[in-house]
């Protein structure tokens, strides 16, 4: 039996759902192959969407026509903007979600797509003809042909779960592993590695003494992720906080030999930034306690998610660890934590479109590329889906720049540097961070989907409306002039604003504190600047913040944009796909690195770790001689790498990447 599609997406997790939906929206016929229909959109780990830097990814996904924001809004039971006290560029919206409602929302959103068929089954192998993907073969013998295929298998490739000394094949609790697809990928010449991740125990809610926990409320006025959401429908609930103690740590230390990561049972690398509790106890032995966030798995869900004590210790130790936490003295674990080991594909083998280099039509997205997190997966799924769609239509690929989106930073990092541990998004990975705030995503990104020809009329309409309202308000603020004459200074008095020279409301907004809403109310009472009051009244809270931010950070934004633009000259020097790097004068080590990444531009080459100015200048010279787009892009030879400045929660420098020259 053969079914014909334009695009086949393997996997129905966060990456697969985005890839399938955007490709279907763009008019392709899409099959989403999943082991179980009801597992689509399942939250395998924590019941939350967003967070620092991750929240920006969700907003980017929403601006580009993805579904994660909408699904989180439909299932969110606690919304909170993290880093609220800091600037807009680094604030991260986060929502605690009802796990079941989230999956349901994703499934419902997919069900709306007429071009999208969900196929239940397990993929045996990819069908490759020459250097082109032709479809997939399922274990039950069914054949799905397609001209593009997006592989989003998450942690399921040759997955092995560890709980104490026990091991069992499987990608998620109670779900099987995909054993044969890895071979199919290996046979294409792809280089696979092994990673590890883990999940904490879930505790029966009724066994916990909430009186001993510290309540953690969400924001008073919760703000949705999606521009399409008018109202959040679900009741908002509390999270709670507890902590480990010396007793917890002693228990863990005494049982370390039974932890698979320490007994040698797991050799794969785990996420440094999301360490297991046994990791934390060993690595940060000077910390007397670690925070544990107690998060509801849903509105009526009987379980609690123990955020902060991810573990693969044996169940008797997990019982002891949980019961050592204040409020959990009588706690009953409903499901024990476990670690999972899985295959991933070194993402340096991908192009910036997430297409496998050398295989037409084959795209990889999500944890299979070595990332961790729903948001990272979803953003890749969306970009891979868009590119699969464009390839099917024979159109130019879609690549986000590093100064355009965190998604652009992430994908560039992955395909350029590869990764040795599960990659997580951080704001510090983005050198043009100030340009990438959540408050400007619709202005930055939504116009791009219009160019892609993906029909999303309501989103475009809303984004355009938002854009013109914000623009009008900014313009009105620029035009509202204040002079330090008596009437004006006295009028400003109650607001605590001191005026020494002629200025505009736009410049007033650069002062801290300045509350535009209060200012405009004050204006209205005095009938000053009706254009300004009218324009600001028309803004939503989020839009008003966007306007203030734009006015307040104008100087910094301009500077970062200039920096970003100047780097574009190096980005513009393309490296042909058939480039042979075995040039005299290039060290063997660099040739290997260049061959591993096969950068598409001189800019990408400059970001390869260990790249020297000499090697870069040699490449430039060689490209110049080849006579391809040699436009004398000289520019600054480098930047301080952001990765140099990253430290773990323990506050120790990551010495692996010190300030490097590149560029």
């Amino acid at each position: 039996m053969t079914d014909r599609y334009d695009v086949v997406v393997i996997g129905g997790g966060h990456a697969g759902a985005e890839a399938a939906r955007i490709a279907a929206r763009g008019g392709s016929s899409v099959a989403l192959v999943t082991m179980a229909r009801q597992a689509i959109g399942r939250m395998s780990c924590n019941p939350a969407i967003g967070g620092l830097a991750k929240g920006n990814l969700v907003k980017e996904i929403d601006a580009l026509g993805g579904l994660m924001g909408e699904a989180a809004d439909r299932s969110g039971i606690q919304f909170k903007i993290l880093n609220r006290s800091k600037g807009p560029a680094v604030q991260g919206p986060r929502a605690q979600c009802d796990r079941d409602l989230y999956a349901e929302a994703v499934q419902n959103l997919l069900a709306c797509e007429a071009n999208l068929a969900v196929v239940e089954g397990t993929v045996r192998s990819l069908l490759i003809e020459g250097s082109r993907v032709r479809g997939v073969l399922l274990i039950d013998g069914r054949l799905l042909t397609s001209s593009a295929c997006v592989v989003t298998t998450g942690t399921f490739l040759r997955a092995l779960m560890h709980s104490g000394e026990e091991q069992s094949p499987g990608g998620r609790f109670g779900e099987p592993s995909a054993q044969t697809l890895s071979d199919s990928l290996r046979m294409l010449g792809l280089n696979l590695g092994r990673l590890k991740t883990g999940t904490p125990p879930r505790v029966d809610r009724s066994s916990v003494d909430f009186g001993r926990l510290v309540p953690q409320p969400g924001d008073a006025s919760p703000r949705p992720f999606s521009i399409l959401t008018d109202r959040l429908e679900l009741p908002q609930v509390l999270c709670h906080l507890t902590h480990t103690s010396e007793a917890t740590h002693q228990l863990i230390r005494a049982n370390l030999h039974r932890a698979p990561m320490y007994s040698g049972q797991i050799a794969a690398t785990g996420p440094r930034y999301c360490p297991s509790i046994e990791d934390k106890v060993v690595r940060f032995s000077d910390k007397p306690r670690h925070q544990v966030f107690v998060e509801p798995e849903g509105l009526n869900h009987p379980w609690l998610y123990m955020n902060g004590i991810s573990t693969s210790l044996p169940s008797d130790v997990q019982d002891g660890v949980v019961r050592s936490l204040p409020g959990f003295e009588e706690a009953v674990i409903a499901r024990y934590g476990y670690a999972v080991e899985y295959d991933f594909v070194n993402p340096q083998q991908l192009e910036p479109t997430l297409k496998v280099r050398g295989i037409e039509g084959l795209y990889l997205a999500g944890q299979i590329n070595g990332t961790s997190g729903y948001e990272e997966a979803a953003a890749q799924g969306l970009i891979a889906g868009i590119n699969a769609l464009l390839a099917v239509r024979g159109r130019q690929p879609f690549i986000l720049r590093r100064d355009q989106a965190y998604a652009g930073v992430m994908i560039d990092d992955l395909v350029t540097q590869g990764t040795e541990e599960p990659y997580r998004m951080f704001t510090s990975r983005a050198e043009h961070r100030l340009l990438l705030g959540c408050d400007s995503v619709y202005e930055r990104l939504t116009p791009l989907i219009e160019e892609l020809g993906i029909s999303d009329i309501e989103r475009l309409r809303r984004a355009a409306g938002r854009r013109s309202r914000m623009r009008a308000a900014c313009a009105a603020a620029e035009q509202a002039v204040l002079t330090p004459e008596r009437g004006t200074t006295e009028w400003l008095g109650p607001l605590g604003i001191v005026l020494r020279e002629k200025t505009t409301v736009a410049r007033l907004a650069q002062r801290i504190p300045f509350e535009l809403k209060d200012f405009v109310t004050h204006c209205r009472e005095a009938s000053r600047w009706p254009e300004l009051t009218w324009a600001v009244d028309g803004l939503s809270d989020e839009e008003r913040e966007g306007v203030v931010n734009e006015l307040r950070y104008a100087g910094y934004l301009e500077r970062q944009q200039r920096e970003a633009d100047s780097l574009q000259r190096v980005e513009a020097v393309a490296i042909p796909g058939d480039m042979a790097y075995e040039l005299p004068g290039l060290s063997r080590e660099l040739v290997e690195k260049l061959n591993a990444t096969r950068p598409v531009s001189l800019g990408q080459a400059s970001r390869i770790r260990g790249m020297t100015p000499a090697a870069l200048s040699l490449l430039r010279m060689h490209l110049h001689q080849r006579g391809r787009r040699a436009d004398g892009a000289a520019g600054a030879v480098g930047k301080v790498s952001r990765s140099s400045a990253r430290v773990g929660p323990e506050g120790q420098s990551d010495r692996s990447g010190s300030v490097r020259s590149s560029g």
């Binding site: 967070g51 620092l52 830097a53 993290l82 880093n83 006290s85 800091k86 600037g87 560029a89 680094v90 925070q291 951080f426 704001t427 510090s428 050198e431 961070r433 100030l434 801290i512 950070y553 910094y556 500077r559 970062q560 040039l583 005299p584 004068g585 290039l586 060290s587 020297t612 100015p613 000499a614 200048s617 040699l618 010279m621 060689h622 110049h624 000289a634 520019g635 600054a636 030879v637 480098g638 930047k639 301080v640 952001r642 140099s644 400045a645 990253r646 430290v647 773990g648 929660p649 323990e650 506050g651 420098s653 990551d654 010190s658 300030v659 020259s661 560029g663």
Partner: protein, 444 residues
């Protein structure tokens, strides 16, 4: 593009083209070893072992010489490098270079060997500049200063600054990306304290520029004074030869006459000028104009007053017009004694000269000579990077003070860190590289 292709094999004489006992020729690049072993007609010897070979080209003997191979990256340039110690005949050198060119090497651009060393990360830009300065050194103090920077004295200072900055940057980044972890990465006060320290360090370094520059370039001392106040006599005494014509006729010196001497380890150019007075003589007027121009550009002015005449209204007028306070010297002390407490000399008799030398030595040492215990910023490029860094960090400091969020402070901190990188030369536009290396002589 002015810098050459790093994939080329380059060749140049490393010693001047003159008859000498030995002459050095260097070859660098991927084919340097194979080319030279071809000419030596033998397998490559072990690296870093001086090996006697006979170079021949098409049956013609070029020289019987000593060759040393260096394997990249364990070489000055980081590439495969050859050093040939030839017999010091310009003709032999020319023949060997010609043979290398026939093998496919090309002539090195000025400074290209050092440029390769920098590009390959063997040395940093400060060290490369110090090599050039060492070669140009005219005094032992200049040489000492260059040797210190070659050994990394300034680079080490910069590295220390960079490390402190990275410490602050990394903790502020952590405060942004891990704000939910419940850790205190760095307090604003602590960040401010470190930034203040870094700014202070950079400012201290920037203050060494005056001395570094003066020591590297040397000083200009201009002798000024009324006609017949003894300027030319003093010049002759200072340089120890009859450099300027001395007569009793006022206004003998018309043009500028310069000679270089060494004071406190600095090359000092002493310039004799036309005596200052109102004149109708066109040549003399032009000479006086030049004298004033020279004074405006001088690091130190010696204003000479004839003891027998004493300080005149015209002297007072001239003194008030000087760009900076001069050292006033009363001359012809053998004929009459100067005011009490003022420096008086008789250049002719030598009286007061030790005191004058002492005074000059003290002035140069106090104000211009690089201190042996301190690093020194020596050129315009270095000070420009340093000043950029200071201004970026001062901005960061102010932003920190206003209570702004970390990501805004970080924008300026990264600029500050980039300025330090630029100082070390690890990131530098290629134009600047080309400009710097054009100043080297070939083969260095």
């Amino acid at each position: 593009m002015s810098s050459g292709d790093p994939a080329d094999t380059i060749v140049a004489a490393a010693t001047p083209p003159a008859k000498s006992a030995l002459a050095l020729v260097r070859m660098d690049g991927p084919r340097a070893h194979s080319m030279i072993c071809g000419l030596a007609n033998r397998e490559p010897p072990a690296e870093r072992v001086a090996t006697r070979v006979t170079l021949t080209d098409h049956g013609e003997t070029l020289d019987d010489c000593v060759m040393t191979l260096y394997m990249g990256p364990r070489s000055f340039t980081g590439n495969d490098l050859v050093e040939l110690s030839l017999h010091g005949s310009p003709l032999v050198v020319e023949n060997v270079i010609r043979a290398a060119l026939r093998c496919g090497a090309r002539m090195a651009e000025p400074g290209e060997f050092t440029e390769r060393a920098v590009l390959n990360g063997k040395i940093d830009l400060i060290q490369a500049e110090a090599i050039a300065d060492l070669i140009d050194a005219r005094t032992s103090l200049q040489a000492r200063m260059s040797l210190a920077n070659m050994a990394g004295r300034l680079s080490n200072e910069a590295a220390g600054i960079r490390e402190r900055l990275l410490f602050v940057i990394s903790r502020l980044e952590a405060a942004l990306d891990f704000s939910e972890e419940g850790y205190d990465f760095i307090s604003r006060e602590a960040a401010g304290t470190i930034l203040d320290e870094v700014i202070r360090l950079e400012e201290t370094l920037a203050q060494t520029y005056e001395r570094g520059r003066a020591t590297r370039r040397g000083l200009k001392i201009v002798l000024l004074g009324a006609p017949n106040s003894g300027k030319s006599t003093l010049l002759n005494t200072l340089v120890g030869s009859e450099r300027a014509i001395v007569t009793e006729i006022a206004g003998t010196t018309r043009d500028l006459i310069s000679e270089t001497i060494e004071i406190a380890g600095l090359p000092v150019t002493v310039t004799d000028t036309a005596g200052l007075r109102a004149s109708d003589n066109l040549i003399e007027v032009m000479g006086i104009e030049r004298a004033r121009l020279a004074a405006s550009d001088a690091d130190l002015i010696l204003y000479l007053i004839d003891t027998t005449v004493g300080r005149t209204v015209a002297d007072n007028d001239e003194l008030s017009r000087l760009p900076h306070p001069p050292l006033v010297v009363y001359t012809k002390g053998d004929l009459s004694s100067g005011p009490v407490g003022e420096l008086a000399i008789s250049a002719l008799r030598g009286a007061g000269m030790p005191e004058l030398f002492c005074e000059l030595d003290r002035t140069v040492r106090d104000r211009f000579a690089v201190r042996s215990d301190s690093p020194a910023v020596v050129n315009e490029r270095q000070i420009a990077a340093l000043r950029d860094g200071i201004s970026a960090l001062q901005m960061a400091r102010e932003t920190l003070e206003t209570g702004a969020s970390e990501e805004v402070i970080l924008v300026d901190l990264y600029r500050g860190a980039e300025a330090v990188e630029r100082l070390i030369g690890r990131i530098e536009s290629e134009e600047v590289f080309a400009e710097i290396f054009a100043k080297f002589c070939i083969g260095k």
